[in-house]
């Protein structure tokens, strides 16, 4: 593990990613302290330009709300949606893929048909329909994103399990009389962790994009200030107040970028060396 950290910390991109993400997380955490009145409060004249008014560094929006407050609270939503939907997707995809890969046969066939089925419906379209059906609330949006993002997880885990299952240490565990469940949970899955973690970091990024896209289409939770909502709302005034869509857009780019950098860093640090050492 310490090897891992050394390699990871040598990766400049990954460190940059960590720094950016940490900043976003920090902002999300202290949002209520910095803006105790919340993001919806109409504080000033609408359409104040950024950097012009004291206390309103990023200006005000169409209703005279503080853009900076919106960004800070939006960070909470984006991170929350990204994180939770990824966790839910993992909770669906990992067991399904693991069981399919490990037991094979009809279990595998059934699980893969099921997965394929979800992959056959275009992702974004399915998300839209799901949100429309469940009506846009934070929960339904998160769930919809999870539902469209688990299939790749299942496939990845299955592939990993399939290849790990052939490794002799699994045979050894079987000979030692371990139960299938123990083997799967204690022997195989821990070894599949690295690619799963890498994928998860990228999924968080994708989920954030998805949430913002849904919000852009008007399928966001109206009680919650999110970056996508801000862009969607500001799109109509993009000509007269570019900053209203620019800053949240930038926030998304930065966050997604950070997650990607981290994901790649993880990938570089976890994957190749382990494999290469394994053969020599």
């Amino acid at each position: 593990m310490s090897d891992f950290w050394i390699r990871f910390s040598r990766n400049k991109g990954a460190l940059l990613g960590i720094a950016m993400l940490a900043a976003v997380i920090l902002v999300a955490l202290v949002a209520p302290l910095m803006f105790p009145k919340g993001p919806w409060q109409m504080v000033q004249r609408p359409f104040l330009t950024p950097f012009a008014t004291e206390g309103l560094p990023l200006g005000t929006d169409t209703l005279g709300r503080n853009v900076a407050a919106g960004l800070a609270y939006g960070a909470r939503v984006s991170l929350l949606v990204g994180l939770v939907s990824t966790l839910v997707a993992l909770a669906i995809g990992v067991p399904l893929g693991a069981v399919a890969g490990y037991y094979g046969g009809w279990v595998d066939e059934a699980a893969m048909r099921f997965t394929e089925f979800f992959q056959t419906i275009p992702n974004f379209a399915l998300a839209i329909v799901l949100v429309a059906i469940m009506e846009p609330t934070l929960t339904s949006i998160t769930l919809a994103i999870a539902i469209v993002s688990w299939p790749p997880v299942a496939r990845l885990v299955r592939a990993e399990v399939l290849s790990l299952k052939k490794r002799e240490f699994v045979d050894a565990a079987q000979l030692a009389g371990l139960s299938n469940r123990r083997i799967l949970l204690a022997q195989i899955l821990p070894n599949a962790m690295s690619p799963i973690i890498v994928m998860a970091s990228l999924m968080v990024a994708t989920a954030i994009l998805l949430e913002s896209s849904l919000a852009f289409l008007g399928l966001g939770d109206p009680n919650i200030m999110s970056w996508g909502y801000m862009i969607g709302a500001a799109r109509t005034v993009i000509r007269s107040a570019w900053w209203l869509s620019f800053f949240p857009g930038l926030a998304i780019v930065i966050t997604v970028l950070a997650l990607n950098l981290i994901g790649e860093g993880l990938n570089d640090a976890m994957n190749p060396h382990l494999n290469r050492k394994g053969r020599a």
Binding site: I128, V129, I133, L217, G228, I238, G249, I254, L257
Partner: protein
Amino acid sequence: MAIASTVLGRLLKAAITLLAIVVLNFLLIHAAPGDPAAVMAGEAGAADEKFIAQLRERFGLDQPLHVQLWNYVSNILQLDLGYSYRQGAPVLDLILERLPATLLLTLTAFGISLLFGVAMGVAASARVGKLGDSAITGVALLFYATPLYWAALMAVLVFSVWLGWLPGFGYETVGADYTGLARVLDILKHLILPAATLGLFFMAVYTRMTRASMLEVAQMDFVKTARAKGLPDKVIRRRHILRNALLPVVTLAGLQAGQLVGGAVLTETVFAWPGIGRLMFESLEARDYNTLLGVFLISAAMVILFNIVTDLVYRLIDPRIGATR
């Protein structure tokens, strides 16, 4: 022969998957609040109970759900996608009317992204660790992280509004009645912005993937063999590394090409592109069940079709697949 029978097998499996999708979508969509009659009544500006009941009866919505499902599925089995009461036309017509635009947009975007993505990936892998590599991967990462619709908005703002170089929306110049080459050029002009924005994200994906794949293949033994033969680096990269590195890219591309068809909602909305993504969204809002289900079915069919095509391409590139040893 082997190929034909595999394709046949795939098609059969696909048909079953599609049928399952039809059923699931049917139930899903009918679970949404409201129905087409209510929407139409709402739009009419006035309505009474009788009017709405009349609409429901006309749409067959007064029957129990399982009967509706049965009717729908048996129609589908006869390759009949049903009738859009809202738009007063057979669903298949509505979709076929829109499909070419979507295919044009998505395939162009797909082509652009694949072409440039692979090219950039190759270029980056050839300069690995150098400035060029960092620049390319950095740009790719940026494209990857930029929300599609945001990029679209910015593109319209810059190229259409400020610079006035390209039309910001639409499929062709309405009413110009161009024919022949002029029409093709006109459409191309309209195509550039949406295809480019739609393609950006995927271009980033392919760039990253190609680069990683190239670097991985470059480590392989046969590359050393090729070098031992005295082949120039350029040839090695093209013939040996790239060809092998393309395999995973092709797989991913196949998956995404299909998804693109149903996934261009945002681009089609921002650029007023008359494709089926928008048709899908509008049908959803109007609860135009048959149309919505039809769009879903067609786009799912597209996904499957592209997967099969990918498989065939894969076979073409990789002799190992499907051969009996």
